[in-house]
Structures are given as C-alpha cells and as structure tokens.
C-alpha cells in the first residue's frame, strides 16, 4: 500500500563512468530545449517539419511546444526533446592554456630581472571594427572587473592604436616600435568577418617576415584559444578575460621566446 519503496542507491540511474547526458529534472533524462524558424506557413505540416528538424538533431520524443507564425510564410518553433547520445568526458579535448596565472608583482619583477626593459605591446581593433571597450579593458590602466590593465604594469609599454585600424598600419607600427607582441581585438563576427581579418594579419606579418618576431594574440567575445591557434595566432582570449591573465601569458611567452 505504500507508494513505492524507494532506494536511493538503486535510484541513481548512473550512466557509465565518464559518460554524461543533459539533465532536465532527473539524472540522465537528456532533456534539451531548442528553438528555430522554418520558412513554412504555420500549420500541421510546418509542425511536423519542426518535429523532423528535432529528429535530425538526434532528439528522442521530440515535442513541439510552441509554433508561432512570424508572418505569412515563416513559423517559429520551441521544442523539447531528449538527447540520449552521451558525451564522453574522457575524450574531451580541452585546449590547455599555455601559461599559469601570476600576480602583477611577480610579472613586473620577472620582466625587470630577466628582460631588463618593458615588453612592448601594440594593440588595435582592426579592420572596420570600432569596438574598443574589450581592447581598452585589457590595455588601459582602468582595466576590467577590478583588475588593472597592462598600462598599470611596469612590465609593459603599451601602445593602444584604438579602433578601425588597418592591418597594414598595425604591422607598420609594430615594426617601428620593435614590438614584442601584437594584440588584436575583433568583436564583429557576422559572416565570419573576424576570421578573414585575423587571417589577413597573419599573412601580412608573414609576408613582411615579422611573424616570428612577435607574440601574436587576439581576443573578443566569439574567440577562444583553440580558434586562435587554428588561425595561426599564439593565443586567443574570449569573453570575460581579465587583463592579468593576458599579462601573465605575455610575460611568460615573451621571456621564453627571448630565451631569458
């Protein structure tokens, strides 16, 4: 007559070790929310097409819970379904960041003692990108989230070229200053404009024989270290980056390159 004889151990329907599924309200239920639009008028046909989209995403028990006409020929769907294909945690490739986090004093001391002069850094938001807030957050004294920017370090000499800087001007300036590092910000990513901008800079540097003389770094809300490396950069910094992380990386990498 009792409702059930629960057994906490048995109940924890454990997945195989190292495997993981999305979690809605029970371990292993695989629940995923999706939304998307189809170029079809609202109605049973569109709804079935919506369900098919969910099936093509590998979702079990696909449920279209909302279908909203966006106008005469488009319908927006919200759906819930179960993804029962587990992620294998043991085989995750997480790009390891090639530096450790140091505090400002350590950085300043280490550069002073081992390099004997500040690291010269040139930064710019390139191409037609006019978003300077992220770049300024890293470079300017004020910094970001309570963490001072590179200007606040004795270890760096910072030249912030600002926004909308042509890659050629950036390269020229880096050569003129004998920069140790180039820092590029790219925020506009529509149609992968950041990818072509970033790639173009690498090509220019290579063409000018400067690529190996600088530590080349990029950053922006849609960038990651993995992507940066793929594009031929030495490092990449994504959303929420703190200036001290960039400082740590630059100090370690430049000193390593200089062999000091």
């Amino acid at each position: 007559m009792t409702v059930d004889g629960a057994n906490p151990a048995a109940e924890k329907r454990q997945l195989p070790r190292g495997k993981i599924l999305p979690y809605g309200d029970r371990h292993g239920d695989g629940m995923v929310q999706v939304s998307f639009t189809l170029e079809l008028p609202d109605g049973p046909e569109a709804e079935e097409a919506g369900r098919q989209v969910m099936k093509l995403m590998g979702l079990t028990d696909p449920q279209i819970v909302a279908s909203e006409p966006l106008g005469p020929s488009f319908t927006f769907f919200v759906g819930y379904g179960k993804l029962l294909r587990p992620v294998d945690l043991d085989n995750l490739k997480v790009a390891k960041l090639p530096w450790e986090k140091l505090d400002p004093e350590t950085i300043n001391k280490m550069v002073r003692e081992r390099l004997g002069r500040p690291i010269v850094v040139v930064g710019a938001a390139t191409g037609t990108d006019a978003h300077t807030i992220g770049l300024d957050a890293i470079l300017n004294y004020k910094g970001y989230a309570g963490d001072h920017g590179l200007e606040a370090y004795s270890a760096f000499r910072v030249v912030n070229m600002g926004s909308q800087v042509d890659n050629r001007d950036l390269v020229a300036r880096a050569r003129e200053l004998r920069a140790d590092a180039i820092l590029v910000s790219q925020v506009v990513t529509q149609r992968n404009v950041h990818i072509s901008n970033l790639t173009n800079l690498v090509e220019l540097l290579e063409a000018e024989g400067l690529r190996d003389d600088v530590v080349l770094v990029c950053g922006g809300p849609r960038l990651s270290h993995a992507l940066a490396v793929e594009l031929g950069y030495d490092a990449g910094f994504g959303p929420g980056t703190k200036p001290s992380e960039v400082a740590s990386y630059l100090a370690q990498e430049v000193l390593k390159r200089k062999g000091v």
């Binding site: 007559m1 009792t2 409702v3 059930d4 004889g5 629960a6 057994n7 906490p8 109940e11 924890k12 979690y23 809605g24 309200d25 029970r26 371990h27 629940m31 929310q33 449920q63 279209i64 819970v65 909302a66 909203e68 919200v78 819930y80």
Partner: protein
C-alpha cells in the same frame, strides 16, 4: 517577521467596508463551526494518533494510524475519539501509543477487549500524551526561531519556488541548487492524486507524477538538506508542503514534527478542486490549522486556483471574499494573522488593455485589506503557452508587481509553466529574473503614489464593494449553500457529495480530544510565552 509594505503606494479604501467584510466572514465561519461541532473525521483521529507518536506501517504497508482508526471503527469505539482509547490502552499495557498500535496491527491487542477505566484517569493520560505532543512541536518551533535568529533570512518578498521531480532524491538536489541560486522558500509539490488518498504514504518515495508524495520521511530528508544549505548560505531556507486533501490534519502533524515552515492549507480547496466532501474538509481544515498554528507554520490559502479556473478579471471579488473567509477560519483555529498567508495571483489575460493596472489594483487591495498577513502572490500560469520567451516576459512584469505592491511571499513563475514541472535551469532563470527585479525596484513604491480617482483606485474600490456584497450573500445563505451555488471558482459541489464523506462521523457524548481542549481558542503565540 519582516512584513513587506507597499510604501507610499496606498489605495484609498473605506475602512467601514473592510470592517463589514470581516464581520460577515466571521459570522460565516462561526456558523459553519456551529453546524459541524458535533462531528469528527477519520483524518482528525489519525492525526491524534500521529500526535501521540504513532508512525510506521503494518506488514501490508498500511500506515499504523489507519490501522488504529480502522480497528477502532470496527470495534465501534471511534465515536469516542481515538485519544481516550489509546490512553486507556496505554494505561492498560503500560506501553506507549506506538506499542499499542503495533500490538493492534500484529493482532496482539484489540480495543474492544480493553476494560473500562475511570474517565478522569483516562482523560488525564490523554492530556499527558497531548502535552508531550505539544512540547515536541514547540521544540521544533523554537528550533526554527533560533535558526532564524542565528542565520538570518532574506528581506521580503521571499522568493518561493517549487520542486516536483517525483523523486525525493532528485528533489533534494534541485532544492539545494535553488537555495544556492537565491530561493528563500522551497515547496515540494505533491504527486497528482495524493490528496485523494485516505492515508499518508510512508517512507522515502521516488515515483510521483507532477510532484513527489508527501511522506514524513520525505519531509525529513528535505528539511535536513535545507538545514545544511541554510548553514552554508547563512540564511534560513523555508520548506513548504501541502495540507489539503483527505489527510489535512495528519499532514499538518507531520509538518509540525519535521519543522516545515509553510503549508498550503485552504478551508475550501479540497471541496472545490478535489471534490472532497464539504463537511469532511471543513472539519479537517480546522484541526489541521490548530496544529499549523501551534507549530508556527505559515499557512497559504489557495484562492489563486480560482483564477486559473475562471476568468481573473471578473472573479476578483470572489477571491477577496474567500480570503476574508479563509482568514476567519484560520483565526478561529487559533492562527495569528502573522501566520496567515492568504493567496492570490496575477492571472488576468495579459492582452487585455491596461491589464497591468488591474493586477496592481488587486495586489494592492489584498495587501491593504490584510496588512499583517504574509500574503502569497502567485505568478501567471493559465495564459502561458509553450512560448517560453513570452512566458518569461510575463513573469518579469509579475515580478515587478509583486515587489511594487509589497507582497510577502513571491512565488516565482516559470517560463516553462505550460510545458513541464520545472527543470533545474528553469528555476535558475526565473530566480535570476525575480532577483533582478527585486533589487532593481528597491524603493520604487516609496517613490510613487496613486493618483486618486484614476483606474487603479477605482477598480480596487469596486472590487472591495463587490466582495462585501458576495460576503453578505454567503452570510445570508450560509457557506454550504453558497458552495452549492457555485459562488467560488464557478465550481458547484453538493453538501452531501464528494469524496471522503464516509470518514465523517458523529461524536459520541464520551468523545474526547485533548488537543481541542489544549489549543482551542488560543492564539498559537500564547504557547511559547506560557
């Protein structure tokens, strides 16, 4: 209790109309009790058994309180109340009520075969057992008060979320996360159907539908987890469950024993929404509320349900009338206003022009009519569909109204209301938005005042007037007839229909319930200072 207030945002209401509402509601409640005084129910008696310490199940899985009451019913002694029979059996056997219950379950004892004893002796024993129960409950109550004093609690409105996985162990995970995300109150929703079960399930449970069974063990597991979270977070997290249904007084007892902080307890919900017999519900609510009152538990009434069933724009007056009635039933059961969390909701069709103004009017009206009650404000639900983004926007406006009008308990709406009981991240998103609105609107109601004679004030005044008329009509015809007429939530119920009617019985002249004697007429606060 840090009661929330709507600051300078005050309606100009006629105090005479409010007073008239109170008068009618009090008469309504008293009349009901006069009619029912001679009756008790199996649920009340099982609660007495539980209060005496009886717990556990027989080999077939039937809870011992049921075994005892059924057995007494078979032996013909139920009309006297379970208390004196248990007291007598204890005196006879020298054991505790639990021993008696086990002996009965094991067929080793039979109420009928226990010899009579002098009435005063038996009553004294029953009183002693009852006093022990009261002391047990008060010690949990003191525990709560100490924890709050030591750990502190959030400023109101308190954010209230539900967990409802059906599995108490998952519920515990979800509740812990919710607390760490900022929830102040966690309610474990019950499985659909539990309210129609004429017994309370036993032990930890993992298979509920749309909720998790209310069992004492589940209460304990959750309370323990939340106590740990409270310590970790440095603020007291409240726990909620439901009294309504066929076992109101028993669940109130379990809640008292396991230090629940809030219980849904409505004088009429069972009748209207679960088709439970009127007399059964009205008797059960009284005893359950006596226990809720004693244990310092805040009760929450269920007027919000009216607004999910019938149109919220038109049924404001009925909701207000019902709140007055619920309040007076609760006061009669000894609950002070500070523990009476009257319920209402944001449920007007969002696409009605000026809907927000009507919501503000209603929310302020309830706030002002019951200034000392920790009113509980329920989010929009009916007008949500699977468009979770719109549902989230709707909840955001609701959050603002909750804060602006000084509601005390702010049930956080879920963007997935129309889809499923909340997922872990649904709760996160909803709490995040409620916290944002709470912080961002701090002080807003001190900055605003109402322009007299405009829509909000006029609407509130007319709602109040109509509520007064509803109450007068209910007073005239009596609550039973009023429910038969379908005055509340548009639901009509027959006085003699509904479930659980067979569990109502006439008290014999020998009937004795020591708790009635101990608790009746007293405001629960009195006990602590005694």
């Amino acid at each position: 209790m840090n009661m929330n207030s709507p600051g300078r945002l005050r309606l100009n209401l006629d105090p005479d109309i409010i007073a008239a509402c109170h008068d009618s509601a009090q008469v309504i409640a008293e009349k009901v009790w006069k009619e029912l005084e001679g009756l008790s129910t199996v649920a009340v008696e099982r609660a007495v058994a539980r209060l005496f310490g009886i717990d556990g199940v027989d080999p077939a899985g039937l809870p011992l309180p049921n075994v005892v009451v059924d057995s007494l019913s078979r032996s013909g002694g139920l009309e006297d109340g379970v208390a004196i029979h248990l007291a007598k059996a204890c005196l006879e056997t020298g054991g505790e009520p639990q021993d008696v219950a086990e002996a009965i379950a094991g067929g080793r004892l039979d109420f009928a075969s226990i010899p009579e004893r002098p009435r005063h002796e038996v009553e004294a024993k029953a009183r002693e057992l009852a006093r022990r129960a009261v002391e047990r409950i008060l010690s949990r109550r003191r525990e709560r008060e100490e924890l709050i004093a030591r750990l502190g609690q959030s400023r109101q409105p308190w954010l209230y979320v539900i967990v409802a996985t059906g599995n108490i162990y998952e519920d515990v995970i979800q509740a812990r996360m919710a607390a760490s995300q900022g929830a102040d109150i966690i309610a474990v929703i019950r499985s659909t159907g539990q309210s129609l079960m004429d017994y309370v399930p036993y032990g930890p449970t993992t298979e509920g539908y749309g909720g998790t069974y209310a069992t004492q063990e589940n209460f304990r597991l959750m309370r323990k987890a939340l106590d740990e979270e409270s310590e970790k977070l440095g603020r007291y997290i409240r726990l909620v469950n439901y009294c309504s249904g066929l076992c109101m007084p028993e669940i109130a007892t379990m809640g008292a024993f396991e230090r629940l902080d809030v219980m849904l307890n409505d004088a009429m919900y069972g009748i209207l929404f679960r088709d439970i017999n009127m007399e059964r519900t009205l008797i059960d609510q009284r005893f359950s509320r006596m226990i809720n009152g004693l244990s310092g538990i805040i009760i929450n009434t269920g007027e919000d349900n009216y607004l999910t069933t019938v149109d919220a724009f038109h049924h404001g007056p009925q909701v207000l009338a019902s709140e007055f009635i619920n309040l007076h039933f609760a006061r009669m059961a000894g609950i002070p206003d500070e523990q009476i969390g009257l319920g209402h909701a944001f449920q007007i069709d969002p696409w009605l022009e000026s809907s927000l103004l009507y919501e503000i009017a209603m929310a302020l009206l309830v706030r002002q009519c019951f200034p000392n009650c920790p009113v509980k404000y329920m989010p929009p639900t009916v007008h949500k569909d699977g468009n979770i983004f719109f549902a989230h926007a709707l909840d955001t406006m609701y959050n603002l109204v909750a804060c602006l009008t000084g509601q005390s308990i702010h049930l956080v709406g879920m963007l997935t209301e129309a889809v499923h009981t909340p997922f872990l991240h649904d709760r996160f998103l909803s709490i995040q938005s409620a916290k944002y609105v709470r912080e961002a609107s701090r002080g807003l109601s001190d900055n605003l005042s109402l322009v007299p004679g405009e829509l909000i004030e006029k609407r509130a005044q007319s709602l109040l007037l109509s509520a007064k008329q509803v109450l007068e009509r209910v007073k005239d015809i009596g609550l039973f007839a009023a429910i038969e007429e379908g005055i509340f939530a548009g639901v009509k119920r027959d006085r003699h229909g509904g479930r659980g009617r067979e569990g109502v019985f006439k008290k014999s002249a020998r009937y004795f319930n020591p708790f009635e004697e101990l608790l009746s007429g007293k405001q629960s606060r009195g006990f602590l200072t005694e």
